[in-house]
Symmetry: none
Subunit: 200 residues, 4 copies
C-alpha cells in the first residue's frame, strides 16, 4: 500500500520533471514561469512545491534525475568494449544519439543549465565530474597501451573532448550555423578527435 502510494507520488514528480524539461527547453529557465510548468504537468502551481523546494531546486533535481540515466546509458554501452579507441568512438556516438533522441532535454542541459551561476559556479556538480572522468579513464587506458600520444594531458583532453562534442551538439540543437546531421556530427567529431586535422 505504502509502496503503491510511493509509486504514485514518484510518478507525479516525474510528470513535473518531464513538463519542466519541455517548458524550460522552449522558453528558457528564467523566462518560463512555475505556472507554465504546472500547467504543462497538469497540476496546480502549489503542487510543484510539494515535490521541489523552489524553482531552482526543480532545475537541479531535473538535472540530477536525468544525468543519472544518462550515465547509466553510457556505462551500459561501454561495458563490453575493451579497446580504448572503440570505447571513445562509442562514447561519442552514444552522446550524439542521446542528443538526437531527446532534443528538449538536451536543450535544457546545453543551454539552460549553463546560464545559471548556480550550476556553473556555486553548484559543484558531482555528476558532471563523473561524466568527465569517464572520458579521462578511456584516455588513460589508451595511453597505457601506447595507442594515444604519451605527452597528451588527459586532464586537459577530457575537457577538450567534452567541449568539442558539446558545442557541435549545441549548435545542432540551436540550428544556427550547424547545417549538418547528427550522424555526420558524430563521425566528423570522432575523426577530429582521433586523427586530428593533419592529412599525412
Amino acid at each position: 500500500m505504502a509502496s503503491k502510494r510511493e509509486a504514485v507520488k514518484q510518478k507525479k514528480k516525474e510528470r513535473i520533471i518531464e513538463a519542466a524539461v519541455k517548458v524550460f527547453a522552449q522558453k528558457g529557465f528564467y523566462t518560463a514561469n512555475v505556472k507554465d510548468v504546472a500547467q504543462a504537468a497538469g497540476v496546480a502551481d502549489g503542487t510543484i512545491y510539494l515535490y521541489f523546494k523552489n524553482k531552482d531546486d526543480l532545475l537541479i533535481s531535473l538535472f540530477e534525475h536525468k544525468m543519472k540515466n544518462i550515465l547509466l546509458r553510457f556505462e551500459e554501452a561501454l561495458k563490453d568494449i575493451s579497446d580504448p579507441l572503440d570505447q571513445l568512438k562509442t562514447f561519442i556516438h552514444v552522446y550524439f544519439e542521446l542528443i538526437e533522441n531527446d532534443t528538449e532535454l538536451s536543450g535544457v542541459f546545453q543551454v539552460e543549465l549553463r546560464q545559471s551561476s548556480k550550476f556553473l559556479k556555486d553548484y559543484h556538480n558531482q555528476q558532471f565530474s563523473n561524466y568527465l572522468n569517464m572520458i579521462a579513464r578511456i584516455l588513460d587506458e589508451g595511453k597505457k597501451i601506447n595507442f594515444f600520444r604519451p605527452e597528451m594531458d588527459t586532464n586537459i583532453a577530457k575537457i577538450f573532448i567534452f567541449g568539442a562534442i558539446d558545442e557541435v551538439a549545441r549548435q545542432w540543437i540551436l540550428g544556427r550555423d550547424a547545417k549538418y546531421s547528427i550522424k555526420e556530427a558524430a563521425e566528423q567529431s570522432c575523426d577530429n578527435i582521433v586523427k586530428g586535422l593533419l592529412a599525412f
Copy 2:
C-alpha cells in the same frame, strides 16, 4: 565640438558595456539587475536607457561591440601569416591570451551561447558567425594545400575547435577540474587539434 561630445558619449557607452560584461559574466544575464550594471559603470540606472533601448538591447549591443574588437585582434595577429597551420596555432594562442588578459571576456561567449533562450534564439549574431568563419577559412586553406584531411568537414570542425578551446578556457577560469596553466592549455589544445589522439 560635436565630435568631442560624440567621443565623450561613446566613452560612457563603452563604460556601460564594460560594466555589463563584468556583471553579466559574474551573475548571469537574468540574475543581474540593470541597477548592478549601472553601479558598476558608475552611472545612474536611467542613464543606461539613454544608450540602450532596454536590457535585452544592452546584451545584444555588448556582443556586437566586443566581438568586433576580438575579431580585429585576431585579424591583426593573423595578417602576416600565410601557412594555415601556423595560422591555426596562432589563432589558438591568441585566443588563450585574450582569455588570460581579460577573464571576463570568456563571459561574452558564454552569454552569447547560453543565454540564448527566448530572445536570443532568433537573434543571429553576425560577429559570432564571422568569428567561426575565421576558423573555417583557415581550415579551408589547409585543405586546399592538402595539409588537412580532405574528408574533414570545415563547417563542423570550426564549431568543434571553438567548443574545445572555449571549454578548456572556461574550466581554467572556473579553476575547478582544471589544474593547468594557460600555456599548457594552449599547447595541449594545439596538439589535440592538429595531431589528434593517436600516437603512431
Copy 3:
C-alpha cells in the same frame, strides 16, 4: 458505546487544543500554521477540520475551553475562604502557580488580548469576562466591609490587577528583564496591590 466514542472524540479535540495553545503561544496565531498544530497534536491536517470550523474557530474554542478550566481552578481555591483580603492573596498566588506549572497558559491570555485584531475585535470572550469579574467580586466585598478604599473603582481595579500580575508573569516567562522567582513575583505583587508603594 456512544458515550465511549464521545469520550475518544473529546480526547482528540482536547489534544488538538493543547497543541494549539503550545503552538500559538510559541509562534503567534498568524505565524503558526494549521500544519504545525496538526503535527504537534499528532493528527493529520484535515482532522482539525473535523473538530473546528476553521483556524479562527480553533482559536476561539481554545479560549473558551482553557478559560473554563482556569475558572474552575480559581473557584476551587477560593470556595472556602471568606476574607476578601485572603481571597485576593490566594487569587494572586494561584495565578502565579498556574503560570509556573503551565508556562504556555500565559499564552492563552496573550492570545486572547493581543491577537484581537480583525475577527477578535468583535468576539467577546465571556469566560474572560467571568475571570475579570471574579476579581471584581472580591474587590466589591472588600469595599463592602470597609477593608478596601471606598473610592476605588472596582471596574478599573480588576483590569489593573489583571494587567499587573499578567505582565509580571509574562516577563518571568520571557526571562528578560525579569530576574526574579515566581514566589517573589507573587509576594511582591500582593504587597504592591494591597499596600501600594507608600511607606508611611
Copy 4:
C-alpha cells in the same frame, strides 16, 4: 539641495509610517496588506520597499520612530519635577494622555506589537527597556528618601506598574469591559499604585 531632497525623502517615509499606523491599527498587522498601507500613503506598493526592507521592518521602524518621540515626551514632562511621587503621578497621567491623543498609534503598540514573537521574544527592544527603566529610576528615588516601601523590589514593581496601566489603557482602547474615561483611568491607576487597596 541634498538636504532638501533628504527632507522630502524623510517626509515620504513618515507618510508611510503614518499610513501604516492607521492601517495596522484598523486591520491588524497580519490582516493588513502592504497594498493597503501603500494605498493609504498614496504611493505605489514598490515604494514601500524603497524605505523599508520588508513588512516586518516597517512595523519595527514604526515602533522605533514613535517610541523615540514618546520617550522625549516623558522626559520633557518629568524634567522639572523633583518629588518622586509627583514624578510617578505625572508619568501615569502623561501615559494616558498619549493614549487618548493618538488612539491608533496606541492600538498598534498595545495590540499589534504584542502579537508578533518578533517583538516579544527575538527582538530585544532597547526602547522598551529605556521605558521600563524610567519607571525604575523614579521608584528608586522614592525608596531613597523613604517615601516608598523599602522592601519593594523596583525591578518587579516597574513591570507591575507598566503592566497595570498598559492593560487599563488597552481595555479602554478595545472598549470591551472598560466603561471608564481616560481621566478616571489615570486617577484610579495612580491611587492604586500609590495607596494600594487598603482603606485604613
